[in-house]
Structure formats: structure tokens, C-alpha cells
């Protein structure tokens, strides 16, 4: 079956611009997660949705980062006024429910801020 998909696969933007990253979870998965991974580091948690609501957004680094999941499936991570330090791979994962056994990850979006 189809796995988690993320678009775009690569995004290059200029400092100060606004970007949106999209995640399509596995159909039927109610839980969705965003992580950020810098080179040589493990993924770092950003935000977790259960259905349409953000159950835990404590990992968002500041108020320039925002994520939505209006219909409980597709999610969009939005970054305003991008900074060079935002450059990383942004990973999305989904699971059957909160605290489920496995999280299924997408291939990620590589964001480069110049």
C-alpha cells in the first residue's frame, strides 16, 4: 500500500521567505508527527496531531513555525520568515493512533535556506 508521502522532496528558498511543506499520511492513520533532522543528528520532534488537533506542539522552536491538519489527514508545516538555521530535512510520520507501536516515516523534505 501507499506509504507516507511528502512534497516537495527538495525546497530551496531565500532567507526571509515563507514556505509550506506538505505531508500525506497513510490512509486511516489518525496520528501524525513532524520531525526535523539536521546533518549528523537524529530526528527532532516538532509537533504531534491526533486527528485534526495538535496534541503536542512543544517541539516547535518558535512562533515562525506552525502546522495544520484541517481534515485529519493531510498536514502542512508552515515556516514564516525563514532563516538559514531552518535548513534541515523535515520528516513526517503517521501511526494508527497515539502511542502506537510503530511510526511510519516519509522520505522527508530537504529545506535549504540561502
Amino acid at each position: 500500500g501507499a506509504g507516507v508521502s511528502q512534497t516537495p522532496s527538495n525546497k530551496v528558498t531565500e532567507k526571509g521567505k515563507y514556505v509550506e511543506l506538505r505531508c500525506d499520511p497513510i490512509s486511516g492513520h489518525t496520528a501524525l508527527y513532524w520531525y526535523r533532522q539536521s546533518l549528523g543528528q537524529g530526528p527532532e520532534f516538532l509537533i504531534y496531531f491526533q486527528g485534526t488537533g495538535a496534541a503536542d506542539d512543544s517541539g516547535l522552536p518558535n512562533d515562525r513555525f506552525f502546522a495544520v491538519r484541517p481534515e485529519g489527514s493531510v498536514s502542512t508545516l508552515k515556516i514564516q520568515r525563514t532563516e538559514r538555521g531552518d535548513s534541515a530535512v523535515y520528516l513526517c510520520a503517521s501511526s494508527l493512533g497515539q502511542g502506537a507501536r510503530e511510526q511510519y516515516f516519509g522520505p522527508g523534505t530537504r529545506l535549504t535556506v540561502t
Partner: protein, 114 residues
Amino acid sequence: LAKTTQPISMDSYEGQEVNITCSHNNIATNDYITWYQQFPSQGPRFIIQGYKTKVTNEVASLFIPADRKSSTLSLPRVSLSDTAVYYCLVGWADRGSTLGRLYFGRGTQLTVWP
């Protein structure tokens, strides 16, 4: 979430058994131990999860001593395609848990040589 400590890198040869040990001294009563594998340019992939004693699946075994302060991932007869980063995670994984976030750490880079 309990943090983990694991070796930064390990080397092995094809056909050998590889054991990666992870320490998690502050593991809580409700915490499960989970291992993920990550190849370059891909998202992490679930390998195995356990709570105590030994768990085995088609790709790996997980050994957990009685005090649960450490765990060992065992990969039998590794091949070149097992070259990847392996992450040990500790956290809640019960259905009904309110915590979905995973803490990855830096992982162990396993390199398998011919």
C-alpha cells in the same frame, strides 16, 4: 522522556552477528524500548520493540535485562545492506498513551564491510 546512550559508530563484516547496546538508566515503568533503522535520504524505519526479556522478529532480536537499564539489538548475519544508522528510543508505546513523540538521539552508524 528517558534519554539513551549508544555508541556513535560500529564496524562489522558480512555474515557476522552485530550487537548494539543502548543504555537508558532513567527508564520509567511504563516505557517501552524501540529501535529504528535509517538509510541515507530516507525516513527512519521501525525494527523492533520490547518491554522486558527477549523479543525476536524476522529481522532482529532485542535483549532486555531484568533492570531494563540497557538493551541490546542483535542483527544476525549482517549484509552490506544493513549499513545504516540505528536508533534506540525509550518512551510510551501503549495504546491510549497521550504521548506520541519519539526522542531519537544521535544513533549508531553501523558500517558493514565485504
